[in-house]
Amino acid sequence: MRTEKKAKCGDWVQIHQIVLTPEQRAPQVPEDTSRVPLEMKAKGELVEPEAFVGDEVSIRTAIGRTIKGRLIAVDPPCDISYGPTPPELRSVGSELRGILAGEVTKR
């Protein structure tokens, strides 16, 4: 879908392509996988003077080659995180230190 989010030549963008449609998938893939396409994403600098998210574009990748696809993000985020401390792990350290402290006292 074309939106008003715009990129200009040289901007760092992300593209998406359908590599294989469900019909083109390898015969050995399991049933759930065979129902969805094989998709690919890649990042690079926009080649065209300007483009909107949703447009078919070309990018120049980190090794300098050109790949085509549909523009899906401009300045794609890198928001990998940790999230909150899982309660199931919170007390493991103090429990184990307690066991070792007991062992030291015992000896």
Binding site: L38, K43, I63, P84, P86, V92, I99
Partner: protein, 475 residues
């Protein structure tokens, strides 16, 4: 113009492989099934001395080996009197891209540069991508990493997303794919389009690069304890680290060291399933790779896999996901080492097995890796919960891959499950029989090879061949 459709590209596989690896594997064939493994390793790989020199020059290896004194004390509290081996870990997180994979990458990238390839390509969702990208960066070579990272809903496995980020940080082009084995098609197309070297995990270079790890462990064990390691525990997936470590330890003159493989139990989850993809909290080091690669090593991305674990494994065990998260927490909290996930699968097994061994025995876990956002237990457990996996504390025997992760309540609950190696050896021979197709005649050399490669007595191999309708010429 050459066709780029799936079937056409797959049919060009042998040519693409020959050009991109530079090895004509056929020259090592000695029968229909048999090939000369040692000749392949010595003629196309590098000697231990050459490897050490290349790795020294590329700042790889010679990592510290650390005694885990508090985990050893804890194991002894739980063990019978006189039991509880000394547990050591090889801190491979000290390599440039922060895992043992730099050892493999350093040799592959060195070889690519020597042969004049303009760059390297690797199909990997793991640390190997970052290792190849890091080594390519310092060698001024181009690098493309092809990884499987998101499901059809667009959810990225956080650990693989982090590894992709690391590859980009080293200047690589990263092709991120959804779930499926056709990643290999994109890999082949990329090799063809770029003319780059195939820095496969499974070439002789890649496995020779790990032999230094085994040799260093033996040397450091002698320095630190005055004895050879009694046991090395290795996280087993594709077979590289286990094969390379075992070969290196043997070269260093420690043939008595027992080699134990450990994998996270993910049995029941399909590795090519779009649904199952994000219901596992370990992206490698698990049974989904460990068992298929043991019984059918040549399923890899090169014609002859240099990693052949049935030749080297003395014992193979599985551990559950919850126990690995527990030991990861213990390693940080008791030893001050925030590492992993890689290495903590074998550490879980080592902690459990140490309790069976005498106090003066030495047990070595052969790797750590850096941790970070996406890779950390916090990220994995939060992601698993979001994907509908139940997380609780309790008895780890209640772990169900893809459904429930149970964090143990007490350290004595950590245990290993034995995998019957004889079952895997038989399965290996049956796979070899199946691959023969209609022509069921093989040669004497094949029998000897199957015995060596499966670790099974020749008599047992012959019985299995007969069972599978295979006859031996001249027998």
């Amino acid at each position: 113009m050459t066709s780029r459709d799936y079937a056409a590209v797959m049919s060009r596989r042998p040519d693409i492989m020959r050009r991109s690896v530079g090895i004509d594997y056929k020259t090592f064939n000695t029968g229909r099934i048999a090939f000369d493994y040692e000749r392949m390793m010595s003629e196309t790989g590098y000697s231990l001395e050459e490897t050490m020199a290349i790795q020294k020059e590329s700042n790889v290896g010679r990592t510290p080996m650390i005694e885990l004194r508090n985990l050893t004390r804890l194991a002894r509290v739980l063990a019978q009197p006189g039991k509880g081996a000394r547990i050591f870990v090889k801190d491979e997180a000290n390599n440039p891209a922060r895992s043992f994979k730099d050892r493999r990458a350093s040799l592959s990238v060195h070889h690519a540069r020597l042969r004049g390839y303009p760059g390297v390509v690797a199909a990997t969702s793991g640390n190997y991508g970052a290792a190849v990208a890091s080594q390519a960066a310092r060698s001024s070579l181009g690098c493309v990493i092809v990884q499987e990272v998101f499901d059809s809903r667009g959810f990225e496995q956080p650990e693989i997303a982090e590894k992709g980020r690391a590859c980009e940080a080293y200047g690589a082009e990263v092709l991120q794919l959804s779930v499926g084995p056709e990643l290999f098609y994109i890999f082949l197309l990329t090799l063809e389009d770029t003319g780059y070297f195939n820095a496969s995990l499974y070439t002789p270079f890649s496995v020779a690069g790990i032999e230094t790890l085994g040799a260093e462990i033996v040397e450091q064990s002698r320095e630190l304890t005055g004895r050879d390691p009694d046991m090395i525990v290795s996280t087993h997936a594709g077979g590289g680290i286990t094969t390379g470590t075992a070969r290196g330890a043997a070269r260093a003159g420690s043939p008595g060291t027992r080699i134990v493989g450990a994998s996270v139990d993910l049995q029941g989850l399909h590795m090519a399933s779009d649904r199952d993809f994000n219901r596992k909290s370990f992206t490698t080091g698990h049974t989904g790779f460990g068992i298929p690669f043991a019984v059918e090593p040549d399923r890899s991305d090169v014609p002859r896999n240099a990693a052949r674990v049935l030749r080297y494994l003395d014992r193979y065990v599985t551990v559950d996901q919850g126990s690995v998260f527990y030991i990861t927490e213990a390693l940080a909290q008791l030893e001050g080492l925030e590492r992993g996930p890689a290495g903590n699968t074998s550490l879980t097994a080592a902690f459990s097995i140490a309790r069976e061994m005498p106090e003066d025995a030495v047990i070595v876990v052969n790797e750590t890796e850096y941790t970070g956002a996406g890779k950390h237990p916090y990220a994995q457990l939060n992601f698993a919960r979001a994907m509908g996996v139940e997380i609780t504390r309790g008895d780890p025997a209640d772990n169900r891959p893809g459904e429930r992760i149970v964090i143990p309540e007490r350290p004595e609950q950590l245990s290993v499950t034995e995998v019957d190696l004889n079952r895997l050896r038989s399965s290996y021979v049956r796979h070899a029989c199946r691959a023969l197709g209609d022509d069921r005649m093989i040669e004497q050399a094949d029998v000897a090879f199957l015995a060596e490669d499966s670790g099974m007595p020749a008599g047992d191999v012959e019985a299995l061949l007969a069972e599978n309708g295979v006859t031996v010429k001249g027998a």
